[in-house]
Amino acid sequence: MTVPLLKVDELRIALAGDVIHNAVEEVSFEIGRGEAFGLVGESGCGKSITALAIMGLLRRPLSLAGGRIALDGQEIQDASPSEWRRLRGSRIAMIFQEPMTALNPLSPVGKQIAEMFVLHQGASWSEAMDRAEEALRQVRVPSPERRIRDYPHQLSGGMRQRVMIAIALACGPDLLIADEPTTALDVTVQSEIIDLMAELCAAKGTAILMISHDLGLVANMCRRVAVMYAGRIVESQPAGAIFATPRHPYTQGLVDSLPRLGERAKRGRQRLREISGVVPSIASYPAGCRFNPRCFAATDICRNTPPAQTPLPADGLVRCHHHG
């Protein structure tokens, strides 16, 4: 059995307030070397703070309350600030949803890429600038020798996200966390960016943790997908299976609520299926299964007992009393 690149085990993140709540609990997953893993869920379900925890960046009122995070078999949840700093950027990198604000407006983009080489690999500035130009070429920015001197406001959103990818992948990290990397972009630019990310990561052997609320996007790009609801992973399956045979009622609801091409021609005009109700607030998670107030299959056991994880074939799992 090989050691997975990233192993998150029983992660628990506490949100301090008048009362301490668990924003994320019992979250466990593994990402293999070079594997693309998707984490899907709606706003506030805890997917972004899970990513922050993996980067060691939880800040008050959030804090790591339990669980283990292991990178390459080495536990990093208790690393010191300087150890974290060495990990970030060089072994774990991240790109975000807002390419507009994620670049320093007063620094030419080439310099911002080059800074990574200087910071993490001790390169000289002149060498780093040459490598930055090469990095820009790799993310297919046209005429990189001129673009390298451009400031972020001179680039379009898609170009900026390419620059972000170049910065994130500059030091050849083992893991790239992509937190909604295409949400702020046009659909056509979206697919280019996703293809580019997938291609570069495949070439460099970088694993991807893709965080999104877009099930379709994640399923296209990732080998395995985990669905989060209200701070817990409710289902995890290979990407194909999650569409073909969703086991958790929430995942079924998500898949059903996606519009399908050609559906209307086949079955006539129909109202798109939806999941009734709203996400419970973190202060008032229901007892038992957290999805039970919105679930069509809910019974008494769902209202009283939190469901345990049931293993599924191909490393999958589901957290439901009535799965299947």
């Binding site: 960046l57 700093r85 060089s90 320093n104 007063l106 910071l119 993490h120 001179q154 910065i167």
Partner: protein, 292 residues
């Protein structure tokens, strides 16, 4: 009503754009005034007519402005013009150096307080409020009383008493910049605290800080004049604009040129610094300067 032709309209827009991109009138007027003051200070030995201290000659006492003495002479027969020329060295030195000291203190305190927050922030904010509550001139007076008159103690006194504005500004800027994506991104990419401060935060808050420092220079020159006027600044016979005013105050009715010309020198230098500060505020926005 005359209708402008399209050609003249585009020429008009082009002219306006050129004008705006270069920072506007205040930058140029202010820059010119400050430039003249600097040039005078640097070339003082070349353009002064006589020695500002040693040329006392009672035969020439209190001559009104004339060809030989363009700004007249004082009671000791010294050329006012030459004394103003040399006085610019002191006024500008005090203005520039004390503002550099102020900015260094204010920015390092404000930047670190805003960045790290917590107890250090409380302490710095308290100290800033304390400094703001004490009139800075009174504080400077106290320091001057301890250190004794002279150029170095002037710079120290004014440098230690006016940093609260740049400190507050720096802290406020850090607080708003800290939540910017690129600052967070820098942390995620493994930047250290100091590197974040110097590469991400400081360049992005430099514009307002430079403006404040430029405006503060005018204030420092006025404070120097006030302290010298009160006899705590530059000691006679060495000329500073403030001490010249101080010496001339008894004779403002009978020998007005003694006070008018140093007063005008202060006026135009402070005006120039204020205009320059305003003009810099307009151009220190990268979005208008880096477009090619």
């Amino acid at each position: 009503m005359s209708q402008s032709t399209p050609a003249s309209v585009t020429a008009d827009i082009a002219a306006k754009r050129r004008f705006r991109l270069k920072g506007g009138l205040s930058l140029w007027v202010g820059g010119a005034l400050v430039g003249i003051a600097l040039a005078v200070a640097i070339t003082a030995p070349l353009i002064a007519i006589t020695d500002p201290v040693m040329s006392a000659n009672l035969m020439n006492a209190e001559i009104p402005p004339c060809w030989e003495f363009p700004f007249g002479t004082d009671a000791q027969g010294r050329d006012i013009y030459s004394r103003i020329v040399y006085g610019s060295r002191i006024s500008l030195t005090v203005g520039v150096v004390s503002q550099i000291v102020n900015s260094l203190i204010g920015v390092s305190l404000g930047l670190s307080a805003g960045y790290w927050g917590g107890l250090w922030d409380d302490f710095v904010s308290g100290l800033t409020n304390l400094m703001l509550a004490i009139p800075s001139l009174i504080f400077a007076l106290a320091i001057m009383a301890i250190l004794g008159p002279g150029l170095v103690s002037l710079v120290i006194a004014l440098g230690l008493t006016n940093w609260s504005y740049s400190c507050r500004l720096a802290r406020a800027q850090v607080l708003s910049l800290k939540s910017q994506g690129y600052v967070q991104a820098a942390r995620i990419l493994g930047y250290g605290d100091l590197r974040i401060m110097f590469t991400q935060l400081l360049p992005n808050m430099l514009g307002p800080l430079i403006v404040i420092a430029t405006l503060g220079m005018g204030g420092a020159i006025l404070s120097e004049a006030a302290l010298s006027f009160l006899g705590l600044g530059i000691r006679p016979p060495f000329p500073s604009w403030g001490s010249m005013l101080s010496e001339a105050r008894d004779q403002i009715n009978t020998v007005p040129w003694l006070s008018v010309f140093p007063g005008l020198a202060i006026f135009f230098t402070v005006l120039g610094l204020n205009l320059l500060g305003d003009g810099l505020r307009d151009i220190l926005d990268p979005q208008t300067t880096t477009r090619r």
